[in-house]
């Protein structure tokens, strides 16, 4: 149970607004006053759960597989495993609204135990929800409404070992339940890194990354998770399925690519073989101020057109840039320093600095010192050509240091009656700015419809040869009593907009329950039929993570044959 049951991250850690004196006053001015009392977090013990439907006999059967301490129907455990960490989840859990908790949580220690639990579930007619770190923001780990029967959540946290490192092949075989820090610690002892650092890194697992097609902040160098995975072991309703670790092949459709992104519908990923890299000798992240979002996008694309492999390229729009500046800590901090530097630069040119227009671009290279230096030599003239103003390395270091902190802010804002969520997409370079404007406009319009001032910001990151992702943050005052409807309206407007304007339905958050209603429009009916056929092939009775990805329509509400 790594995280707070009611919010993000370590129980003793939060997002301290008092150390950022400019931030909350700025945001509060934008959002306007609270429209009511913010809902406080309920006491854990006061949350009423439906009683567990796991029989004593079945409890015993599970204990025989995973050990007595590996199966629990404990109240706190069931609450903790009820939801992921989306805005919707946090609103529901804060008010203790948990009508569909899992009936039991099971902690297997090995592939064979996972397989045995699945076999047991099939016979008993249970539904099974695989659970990594529980950081899903799309409803990927919850019991969907309208389902009857026993739900067992399979928490993979005990399967947390790096099994083997193959130095010659540059790969490692790793159990799927390992969390980011433990994974990097075990690899790091041998001088290796996976290079996968999503914002959820501290609280998410290898298996979760693979099941959801996760992207780390250094994806431009190390790839998205699907590019890291070379082999897989899956426990499925039909038995063990191994995808051989082979570098490349011409043996029909890629079975690896069927499993990556399968969101627990085909089985449980228990182990993966992934590419690993030497821990970089140097990490050099630097900030630039670009004249506009559009120019910044062109500069990013031009960087990618060279033989460069930056680890991170991340461009904030003017709104996010402004907020970033307001988030600086005390005067004299690194952020303060670069603001001064920027001011100096402007003075020497006889202009005045306009943060409203300028956009912050972060560029980071990692690797051998010489390779980093030579890549900067190519990158600098490109950024200069696009009128980029160098802010130096301190801003890069400060971003890097705090790169996993932002999710904590959500709880702090919820305490203040603010709706805040993020959504992400991807599209081709030629469409990037148009899609940005369309989604930005759709979000603002939908939020404003509820009579609250919208706050929307965005950054471009995860750059590819042909395009990049857009990551939006949207906020507004909560309208009391309509917190979820208000959020759903904004989410729906944005998702409609991005799907109809050439964007990915998701770039790295996955589908889960929340995006499933758009899947048919997104992949077409033939695509849905293909995915449903796959589901049927692996899981004919339909008991693996029901309702996710394909939505309720593609699956029976009770397992077949039960």
């Amino acid at each position: 149970m790594a995280m707070k049951w009611w919010g993000w991250g370590q129980p003793d850690k939060g997002y301290a607004l008092d150390r950022k004196p400019l931030f909350w006053p700025f945001l509060e001015r934008r959002l306007g006053p609270a429209l009511g009392e913010a809902a406080p977090v309920m006491e854990l013990a006061a949350i009423a759960l439906p009683p567990s439907r796991l029989s004593a006999e079945h409890h015993k059967a599970l204990s025989a597989i995973v050990g007595a301490d590996g199966v629990t129907t404990d109240h706190a455990e069931r609450v903790h495993h009820s939801y992921g960490k989306s805005y919707r989840d946090l609103v529901r859990i804060r008010r203790g609204h948990v009508p569909h908790a899992p009936d039991a949580v099971v902690y297997p220690r090995s592939h064979d135990e996972v397989q045995a639990v699945l076999d047991c579930a099939r016979e008993a007619g249970w539904r099974v929800i695989p659970f990594g770190g529980g950081t899903s923001v799309v409803g990927g780990v919850e019991v969907p409404p309208g389902q009857v029967g026993v739900f067992v959540t399979l928490d993979m946290a005990r399967m947390d070992r790096v099994v083997a490192i193959d130095r010659e092949s540059g790969t490692a075989t790793i159990q799927a339940g390992v969390f980011g820090p433990a994974l990097e610690e075990q690899l790091g002892r041998e001088g290796y890194t996976l290079g996968h650092f999503p914002q959820s890194f501290e609280f998410s697992t290898l298996g979760g990354w693979i099941a959801t097609r996760s992207a780390g902040q250094q994806s431009s160098k190390y790839g998205k998770i699907e590019e890291m995975v070379v082999g897989l072991r899956l426990a499925t309703p039909k038995g063990t399925f191994d995808v051989r670790p082979i570098p490349a092949q011409a043996t029909g459709p890629s079975l690896k690519e069927l499993v990556v992104g399968s969101e627990g519908l085909l089985g449980v990923i228990t182990e993966a073989t992934v590419k690993v890299h030497r821990v970089p000798a140097v990490r050099d992240y630097r900030g630039y101020l670009m004249p506009s979002f559009e120019v910044g996008i062109r500069a990013m694309r031009d960087l990618l057109r060279q033989e460069l492999r930056p680890a991170t390229v991340r461009l904030s729009d003017r709104q996010e840039t402004e907020l970033f500046f307001k988030m600086r800590e005390e005067p004299g901090s690194p952020v303060e320093a670069f603001v001064q530097q920027a001011g100096k630069w402007v003075l020497t040119r006889g202009g005045s600095i306009d943060f409203e227009g300028r956009c912050l671009l972060l560029v980071g290279f990692e690797g051998e010192a010489s390779a980093v230096v030579s890549q900067w030599e190519v990158a600098r003239p490109i950024l200069k050509r696009h009128d980029g103003l160098s802010l130096g390395a301190s801003i890069g270091r400060s971003w890097f240091r705090s790169r996993f902190d932002l999710p904590y802010l959500r709880d702090t804002l919820l305490d203040r009656g603010v709706m805040v969520d993020t959504l992400e997409t991807a599209t081709e370079w030629a469409n990037l700015h148009d899609l940005y404007q369309a989604v930005d406009g759709a979000l603002k319009e939908a939020i404003a419809k509820n009579g609250v001032a919208p706050f929307v910001m965005c950054h471009v990151s995860h750059v590819y040869h042909d395009g990049a992702s857009l990551y939006f943050t949207f906020a507004g005052r909560q309208t009391p009593g309509r917190e979820l409807e208000q959020w759903a309206e904004a989410k729906r407007a944005a998702t409609d907009c991005l799907v109809r304007n050439g964007g990915a339905l998701s770039h790295h958050h996955a589908i889960g329950l929340d995006h499933a209603p758009w899947m048919r429009e997104y992949v077409g009916s033939i695509g849905i039929e293909a995915l449903a056929a796959l589901k049927e092939a692996f899981d004919p009775t339909g008991y693996m993570n029901p309702g996710k990805l394909l939505g309720p329509s593609a699956q029976a509400s009770t397992p077949k044959g039960v």
Copy 2:
């Protein structure tokens, strides 16, 4: 009809042995004398085909879709479309053994025409074989034995246009029937290249590359075809299926990766959006002599561990190296020059040159001049550290110039009573040398069992972070009357060996009819069921390219519902 009906390539071009005076005597010494008269190529007109079963009415229906000149039951056309270009195909076609020719060949001009032909086929109960350049070496385009009913081959050659180039996104949308040279010519006019140059380049098509998961000789820089494709249009038995061109996504299993490698079983690829690159300013290919195959492999791997992106890295084993040297043309040629250079180097060290032990390594960089120079600066010390002897750029140029010529040699050798074929696999670096030795041994043993001297050689190419491919050429004197059995024995021994020793069943030749018997062992029964379910989802009546990939067992011998 781009190629000779009975062999490889342009009708007026062959592999001239007389310009390589050392080559044939050397090979003949190794192979021993011919064991009988080599079978001559039969007259085209003398080949007896089963009569076309396409009714006049159906001929008319097809003409209404593709135009009168777009449908033919002509004898030469049917012969030409009967087989691909494998050793098995050439042996059969030379002796005029064509018991199962397609009943008609249809040349659609657009996606809608392809879709209309498929709809027509479904109603009429025909089977359909999509046909690109017909260069399959695994039986990918033939009418399989044991099938009854009408077979229509869909030749995509008229769909040969680059539809659009998106300079901003670095992509191009291209019709699937375009041949390599026409594709590069159209892109080249705008300053772009796809960068996909398989050995079949001159006679194969974009759609064929995608359907078979092809790899080009510059795959280490530009990727295998699956890494080039970003979007797809498919005509399927259920209608048009579009895979959106999106750089990356987290929207379930990859639908793109389902279509790439589908070998015509799911539908017909009519158009693709692919990444394109600026035509490289510089191509710099150089040769090195490495002390041994094992050391050469380590050097390749070390090159890949740096921030380098060579276009080509290719290491011949001692046998292939020796043959390469024997293939030199007249004295005074570039090859002669580097042999002299090598000799000089050996003399200065007081040793004697031992080509038996040394292995030829080709390394090529492409791109901006400065990037090529700086990559060589990193590469050179690595090659030197592994005792690589530089042979300079002339050998690289000579390899580059003749890189599409070798398939012609097969016909020349067939004329001389030689069985010769190639096969390829891929595995992780740690397993590469072991797999090489195992397959090399299996081939030699199987060939020798027929009482003929085996000639087996191999190169490593298509390098990846975690491994590389192995490409074997095997030869021996044909045993008259058992030419196909003798070949099948060697092929079977090698394939059993590579599948059981961690190798890919194919790295870039695909599955077709020839590798299908190994698919269940290779991907497991769950994998087969998943692929069969996909097939069923796209093509419920089973009329698309029957017998390929999944073998006859996974499909009815006549379309269902007919």
